[in-house]
Amino acid sequence: MRQAQLLRQKVLYSLLAWTVGIAIFFPILWTILTSFKTELEAVANDPSFLFFDWTLENYKTILNESRYFSHFWNSIVISLGSSVVGLLIAIPAAWAMAFVPNKHTKDVLMWMLSTKMLPPVGVLIPIYLLFRDFDLLDTKLGLVIVMTLINLPIMIWMLYTYFREIPSEVLEAARMDGASIGSEIVHVLLPIALPGIASTLLLNIILAWNEAFWTLILTAAKAAPLTAFIASYSSPEGLFYAKLSAASTLAIAPILIIGWFSQKQLVRGLTFGAVK
């Protein structure tokens, strides 16, 4: 009797999880399907799910018209660059707050988080003017700096929560053995916190990859990443949904693949039982 109830519960929860999963994935699936339609089929009033004339024409057109690989390379440099630079700053910062806190640590953490609550457009003009004066407009370096700064609070918060779970005795033992702060972080803390650091890195790559406010505002021709590539396919006079979908599919494909291969790492890091 109890077993039957358990089974029923399991089936119910699985069903719920699948429903939520499909609901979340459906827009992406629809985008991918639309990318194989003709422009007319893409905007048809009674859209067809699978039974349409599948075509690769949109992909051919956009690969001919745009420099996809140049945008792709810019996205890689910006997202990877900002995540690595961010980690280099966030690891020591999170270490300090987790293991040597003082009475202001909480306030500092909250203050850092509060910068995320500011609408980006509020600082658009000052940042734009700074970029102009330092010759950073339309440069990958400029984007790496902005992305690092934007995502730094999240990185520090994530790492801080991971580090808090590590018993400080482990680090104290290393210190007793005469380890310097540097080697304590590199040789003791990092190996234990690796899953957390990896998932922080991955999450930040994804966030920086998808960022579409600063990347659109601060770039023109040279440093424009894939977000600008997608935006270029909208048209005020002429049908564009199929081509836009193909551009979106090409833009999200790399991150979907990375996400797929690293999902174990991501889930482990996010649910975070690794170091317990």
């Binding site: 422009e39 007319l40 905007v43 048809a44 009033n45 018209e65 745009s66 658009l124 003009i125 734009y128 003017l129 102009r132 407009l137 339309d138 659109l216 505002i217 023109a220 021709a221 040279k222 424009a224 600008a228 935006a231 270029s232 396919y233 909208s234 048209s235 005020p236 006079e237 002429g238 049908l239 564009f240």
Partner: protein, 436 residues
Amino acid sequence: MIKRLATSICSALLISMPAAAETVTIATVNNGDMVTMKSLSKAFTDANPDIELEWVTLEENILRQRVTTDIATGSGQYDVVTIGTYEVPIWAKQGWLEPLNNLGADYDVDDILPSIRGGLSYEDKLYAVPFYAESSMVIYRTDLIEKAGLEMPKEPSWDFIRKAAKAMTNKDEGVYGICLRGKAGWGENVALLTVMANSFGARWFDEQWEPQFDTPEWKKTLEVYTDLMQSYGPPGASSNGFNENLALFQTGKCGMWIDATVAGSFVTNSKESSVADKVGFALAPDAGMEKRANWLWAWNLAIPSSTDSKPAAEKFVSWATSKDYLALVAKEKGLANVPPGTRASLYENKEYLEAAPFAQITLESIKLADPNNPTVKPVPYVGVQFVAIPEFQGLGTAVGQQFSAAVAGNVSPEQALKTAQRLAQRTMRKAGYPKD
């Protein structure tokens, strides 16, 4: 000795290095004619090996936002920008655009249609050149109107449009008599409603800049519009813009569509349109008040004042809007795909008139629109389907939302106009109108 050697090596390197090409960065939108320009631009760089072109293609609103930020802060990221007729006089007044006075000896600026050129000038100087231009017209299905036992006159009235829409509607077969813009936006439904209002004798402002939405002319306009849309329009018409109606027409769902003349080449293209051989064109409707619902719009190329490559940029702008460029497009992409509406000489070409069945109506429609006298009564502003003041963009969209709500049946036409009047009065008061 080593120093001398190093100096001579450096000088040798400097001499042997080719002169760096000047880069011209062009910001544009993804319309078909612009895509063609980009694909044919090799002809320009071949003829000008000292100039390199960089393209930045953007969504229309992002383009506007990016280019204004760039120009206002003097950043100089763009050397050529694609802007609409609405922006040119406003930006020229602000000193954001360079006057174009070196377009070349054989450019023939007098060949540009006068009504288009007038909209791109400020204090008698040309600040932008048109890449392609459009007015509005009636696009209709010849087979459906014949089936309905009617004949489309070349100069239809709004009464005839209503009659024809009723006769062509067959909701069981998914055919709707008329498709009009319903999507809110100063460049969407407001464009159509403003020219429609012009034809009914309405205007946005009187000579003292007092908003006029409380007049019987506007009431009549909105009543005719909502009646057409609700009785004979497709479902969900309040969210249809140019592209949505284009798709509906191309798939045979619309009997008539009143919209941009540039749609002529889309609906007659058999690769994209299932009704390509059953399309006719007529002038935009009137209400017997001597003004037709013709708008006037051009996508133009201009040079921002923040550029440091003006001569090279001007060379490009001149090339892309020249007669030679039109000939190049005709050769590479076919005569019907030439950017329309800018040069009188194009419409003197008999082959073009034959290849493009919409050409004659396009030309007549553009000629009928007068940005300086857009409506029956006098107005203090310039612009046919817009009011060329900076406040219009925000106000137009807010008013457009009211019109869209009226089509959806959420508010009555009277209520929509009442709110529009209030919005306009507030905006104008805040902006300090009337100004000297």
